[in-house]
């Protein structure tokens, strides 16, 4: 064999990178676009049917934002899980479990231990949230160490948490009479519901974690390629445990706030919210294959769902239309995502 004939290319070899087109940028922001379109739709309908504004209405704004809080809290944790290429199906009943425990413990602390309302509420809330460490860690352990697929592992936990929540509740709703709980759940500060303020703070913290810390960065890396993350020295098992722990804790926060809002603990508190949480993340632009998604998108996704649900009630159509509307938005959103992927050449490592 003789020396090769090909000349080694030298000189400038720029990486060709087309600027993202306007269309792509709009596709990135599609959840906010949906939101604007929906609000415009309800605004027009409301003005022509009732002659009043839909969105320039404090009561409506408060209702929609309060409506969005619980699914959004679940969706915040779910965002991390979905970006890591997982799914957490247990969130709804983990939330119910936390809600029941927060109610029971607050009652016990007030009635048996004689604690003042504020202390009783804090003890109830902390216990309810602390409880969710168990399902979170078990989910993470099943998935990270025992290699159980997330769908199956968290489906098992869905059953366990559901049973535990109903058992703790004794099959009933646990009512609480605690002035602090109702302040947290229904109070306002400068006209803004306390719940909304708390959830906004949670959003900021989650946005920080996801976009500015190593934990968030590694979550994205792991979602794109576990092998790449592992070879880069990231402890993927520990990371997985942290992600499911975080998602369990957020469900716990949702649960104890539910107890505040309704002055009651209920096992089924989060039952209808699980699918809403996944829908919010997907509408927000995350891919169920992992590796993409943002908190900002998830917030928009949760608002889209809340506007649809509240808006349809407001314009007085059969509430069942909300399922059709939310379902349609999910499908459109996934179609936009796939089209976008095709155009930007989302290369998959084989």
């Amino acid at each position: 064999m003789t020396a090769p004939e090909t000349v080694v290319p030298t000189g400038k070899s720029g990486i060709y990178m087309p600027r993202r087109s306007l269309l792509m940028r709009i596709a990135d922001m599609r959840a906010w676009l949906f939101l604007v379109v929906l609000i415009a739709f309800f605004e027009v309908w409301s003005r022509s049917a009732y002659g009043v504004s839909f969105i320039l209405n404090t009561y409506n704004l408060q209702s929609i934002s309060v409506f969005a809080t619980a699914p959004l809290l679940l969706a915040l944790g779910q965002t991390f899980v979905i970006i890591s290429a997982g799914i957490d199906l247990s969130l709804g009943f983990v939330m119910g479990l936390a809600s029941v425990i927060a109610a029971h413990v607050a009652n016990y602390a007030a009635l048996q231990l004689g604690l003042p309302p504020l202390a009783a509420m804090l003890v109830g809330m902390l216990t309810g949230i602390a409880m969710t460490i168990i399902p979170g860690l078990v989910n993470g352990w099943l998935i990270a160490h025992l290699k159980v697929p997330p769908f199956i592992g968290t489906l098992g936990m869905y059953g366990v948490a559901r049973g535990a929540a109903y058992l703790f509740a004794g099959g009933m709703t646990i009512s609480v009479s605690n002035s602090w709980y109702s302040t947290i759940g229904n109070g306002r500060v400068l006209g803004i519901p306390v719940l909304v303020i708390l959830v906004a703070i949670a959003c900021l913290i989650m946005h920080y974690l996801l976009s500015q810390t190593r934990f968030g960065q590694h979550t994205y890396a792991m979602g794109a390629s576990q092998a790449a993350a592992r070879r880069a020295g990231i402890n993927v098992k520990k990371l997985t445990m942290k992600i499911y722990l975080l998602s369990g804790i957020m469900a716990g926060v949702a649960g104890v706030l539910y107890t505040g809002r309704f002055s009651a603990g209920a096992a089924q508190a989060g039952e209808p919210l699980l699918l809403d949480s996944i829908a919010a993340v997907v509408i927000g632009g995350a891919s169920l294959f992992g590796g993409s998604g943002t908190i900002l998108g998830t917030v928009a996704g949760a608002l889209v769902i809340a506007v649809i649900q509240y808006g349809l009630v407001f314009i007085n159509v059969e509430p069942f239309w909300q399922f059709i509307a939310v379902g349609t938005v999910i499908i459109i959103s996934v179609l936009v995502d796939q089209t976008q992927r095709r155009f930007t050449g989302g290369r998959q490592v084989e």
């Binding site: 064999m1 020396a3 090769p4 090909t6 080694v8 290319p9 030298t10 000189g11 400038k12 070899s13 720029g14 990486i15 060709y16 990178m17 600027r19 920080y208 500015q212 810390t213 190593r214 960065q217 590694h218 994205y220 890396a221 979602g223 794109a224 390629s225 092998a227 790449a228 993350a229 070879r231 880069a232 020295g233 990231i234 590796g291 993409s292 930007t344 050449g345 989302g346 290369r347 998959q348 490592v349 084989e350």
Partner: protein, 246 residues
Amino acid sequence: MSETILSVRNVSKHFGGVQALNKVSFDIHPGEVVALAGDNGAGKSTVIKAISGVFRYDEGDIELDGRRIAFSSPQEARENGIETIYQDLALADNLSIGANIFLGREPMTRLFGFLPVIDRKMMAEAARVTMEKLDFHVSRLDAPVSAFSGGQRQAVAIGRAMYWNARLVIMDEPTAALGVPEQRKVISLIQSLKAQGKGIIFISHNLRDIFEVADRIVVFRRGENAGERIPGETTGDEIVRLMVGK
């Protein structure tokens, strides 16, 4: 002969009954590209895995700068200046070049003087400087690497090794998945690593690539040394004969 970066001495490794390596030896010096050649199953991947800490070797010595090493993880090898570039790249596709270079070792800075945040500006700047050294001029540093071609992605992996100042860069079939122009590009990247005085172990089944880039060709046959040749003093036919043992 100049100092030695890595010295592999009589290293053996067996998997159950299979003797994957039987007393193999070779050296690598700064600025030198050593090609490992051999038929399928000759033990090429096994020896680099022993070097890079994927598993431990049974017998013999591997010395880095005269110090015996037996790393228990690729992470440990990397901390000691040995970067391995895998054929399937090991990049996170959704992240930028900078984020990939720093994956697992992200630099932090403080926002408003107290809030720790990832220093993306520094990552982007380091990515730009590193990629320029490799003669890649990136127009958008925040683009995910999925937007790049196979050869460009290989350059990112090589850039990562360069940035972390690896002394020894190991490449197991880095051109196998690439088209011809991209293979050329990787060969030129190897030459620029070499120009920076790094030691390089290069595994390939492509004799033309080997002849083009290697300073020495170490031939393995069934886990043993079958010969060592200088490209200018041998032919492809001879290398193939050493590989198959005729």
